[in-house]
Symmetry: C3
Subunit: 326 residues, 3 copies
Amino acid sequence: LVDGILPRRIAGEPVLLYRQKNGTPAAMFDRCPHRFAPLSRGCIVGDYIRCGYHGLTFDAKGGCIANPLGEGYIPETASVRAFPTEEKFGLVWIWRGDHEKAEPKNIPDLSAFVPGPTAEFKTAYIHVRADYRLAIDNLMDLSHSVFLHAETLAPVTPGLRDAVVRVSRNGERIKATIEMKNIDIGDGERRDQQLDTEWFAPGVVALTFAQVPHGELLGNEAIHALHIITPETERSSHYLFGSTVDGREGMTRDPFVDEDEPMLAACQERMGEEDFWSLRPVILPNDAAAIQVRRQLEKMIRNEQASQSLVASARLLNVINQRSIE
Amino acid sequence: LVDGILPRRIAGEPVLLYRQKNGTPAAMFDRCPHRFAPLSRGCIVGDYIRCGYHGLTFDAKGGCIANPLGEGYIPETASVRAFPTEEKFGLVWIWRGDHEKAEPKNIPDLSAFVPGPTAEFKTAYIHVRADYRLAIDNLMDLSHSVFLHAETLAPVTPGLRDAVVRVSRNGERIKATIEMKNIDIGDGERRDQQLDTEWFAPGVVALTFAQVPHGELLGNEAIHALHIITPETERSSHYLFGSTVDGREGMTRDPFVDEDEPMLAACQERMGEEDFWSLRPVILPNDAAAIQVRRQLEKMIRNEQASQSLVASARLLNVINQRSIE
Amino acid sequence: LVDGILPRRIAGEPVLLYRQKNGTPAAMFDRCPHRFAPLSRGCIVGDYIRCGYHGLTFDAKGGCIANPLGEGYIPETASVRAFPTEEKFGLVWIWRGDHEKAEPKNIPDLSAFVPGPTAEFKTAYIHVRADYRLAIDNLMDLSHSVFLHAETLAPVTPGLRDAVVRVSRNGERIKATIEMKNIDIGDGERRDQQLDTEWFAPGVVALTFAQVPHGELLGNEAIHALHIITPETERSSHYLFGSTVDGREGMTRDPFVDEDEPMLAACQERMGEEDFWSLRPVILPNDAAAIQVRRQLEKMIRNEQASQSLVASARLLNVINQRSIE
């Protein structure tokens, strides 16, 4: 989120994001309450958004502060829904539920993966034609690399085929770990490798890859990357690769664009309008982490619905958007 | 409507128009009753339309007058619905309700805007991706020009920002008037300007722009243009600019194509499948004329439904097509 | 069906076809039961299909024979629906109903149109944007040629306009015959011509065209071509032209692509989601053969539904796919 207005559909709803003059991000429903023009077709005027059709002007809290035409009358109902935002770990976090329930402390602690809460954070964006959960599933079982990335990523981890995905939990966080020990990666030396993908509800997965000479302790030499997934519609998602290391945000971009995204879209197409479970998927041992994430998400969605903290459109989409991410 | 067959979807139904040899326009449902081929894929043979698939031939009243294949048997049911037409003010008017209720006198009197009922009338066509009522709303509050046409049309009427839209009625006709007095348009002289948009049910809006030195009487120096809007589907329209003055039909075409049409389409997209009122629009003072037009349309539709004069598909679309226009 | 995997949607369902090492064709549902990836995105490994996502491998009967990742556990439920196939007359025939009801003897006897059951058979493929029954109707009344193919095929059969379509039956087979006697085709000689289109349930039509000097007996000089039509969705079809004579499979391809297919698609578009009969088509004498085919198809579908031999998706589409064709 740099200059200008960023329109983005989140969990089915059109949202716009922009920065106020002091840099604070703001987010609101991207539809003028007057004639239903997308406010993102308007412009930023100071801290405000002015509609491009008849000029109604809204502050960051969604209140109409000016009707520049005629005698300037502003009806009491002239306001647009705004969303609380929080900028942390180089990301803008949007709360789409009730304002009073917005809890910045619910933002997952990504401090282990970024130098600090104000770190500069490079991201690469990809639009994914699949439900956000398919994109998370994909990360929670990286053994798919053996076949889906046979020519691209797989050669780096020759031990992946025989490895087993182990699952561990840390509160709401769920981690899939793949250990590959005493591996010959082709240069005659034996190495130990470890791949971790850790899920932070609802849509962040931190990927860590570590490699040391066989027998040494795996440690801080790990490569970190964040995968940040936001539902767009029931069958599409926004996907951000993030890294604080220059250039790394794009590192896995090509295999993802060429191999993962088309596969996810093809699976989604074959699923049609069906729910994942209603199709009775065959569950394999390596699905354990992905299934635990799905179960945890379902539990959180149920809890949010019970506490009536979700807006109607969110319930409709059956997505958890407690902490939608930009 | 010049040579050949013009296919045009009107209020959801495929219709074809053509001219008979004596120039009289004819209109009929654009689907052969035999194998459902679009008759507009066929050709004109004298005063008739011949289907391009098996050659069934229909007269201007929709009766099948020839089956050119085999022994030429024509079933009694072989006919297609024709629509009464009337050519007036350089336009072809189609009546889509019951034939006996067709009333040429219901055609609005546009004589003030065209030299005569047989005047040559130049039109420019634009396809609009929005409900016809959004296109009418747009004309009934021209103050939108200040923002939507900030770089194109607005500089000509610098007094528009502070002006107020006044509404007046003349029977079914509803007129929005914007007076801008004692205006400096940049050349040092003071002028009085007046913009009128007058709606004729269901879909014609006559635009008049007059300008005189400040204090003089506004009069016949007015520039006239007609905007003729026909529903195509529930969310798209046919839009004709018309003028009897050569070249003027295209005068406002560019700002409309570049600025109005994309905005109308964006509003329509944000409205989705929702009805205008169900979205609880915020009503501003300058909406008065547009709202009166909507109320008048709703009343006329109710009356037509009460008198059962509308075909089923028209009711379905909830559009008034008493006097659909070509 | 040569090398590689051929994905093809049949009667609404994604199906893949491939050849085993000994040449036997195999067909299965094109969706992995694990993560719902299209198996056609995978590859052939010997006689098996391996999924391109996580490597699950299936034999020609749809059983999972390998999970190459981790410890290789294969759940009992890991199988995919396979379809019995039969290769005959140069075509692969797929049975989509219950396995035990697959009856190779139900494959229509096309021996009169191909040199033998193992003949090499050239086909040209066209995707048709219309229900398969519209494509069959089109063949069962070739008098449409007079208008639809006025510039292309019609000049060869100048007697077609006045000819009458006669219908004859041979068991389930229905034949439309058009005799054109004592015809001047432009070179001064008089000829007798005969056009036959014979329908074999559910979707094969054999076209025969014979021509002799007037008065001679029409005989073996006939030109044969097969039109093989498979439903893809409710409103689209796969269309194969077939011939054992080199080059002939493409002979009528151009008029079909340029004239028939667009007309069929236009009729389908005008029919919308309506059923053929619900639109109350006007029936002409030359429709007799097409109507008999439709009645026979309806009877066969009813019988299959009564005997519960159809899978749910087939019932849904209301198509007969007892003998879907590739």
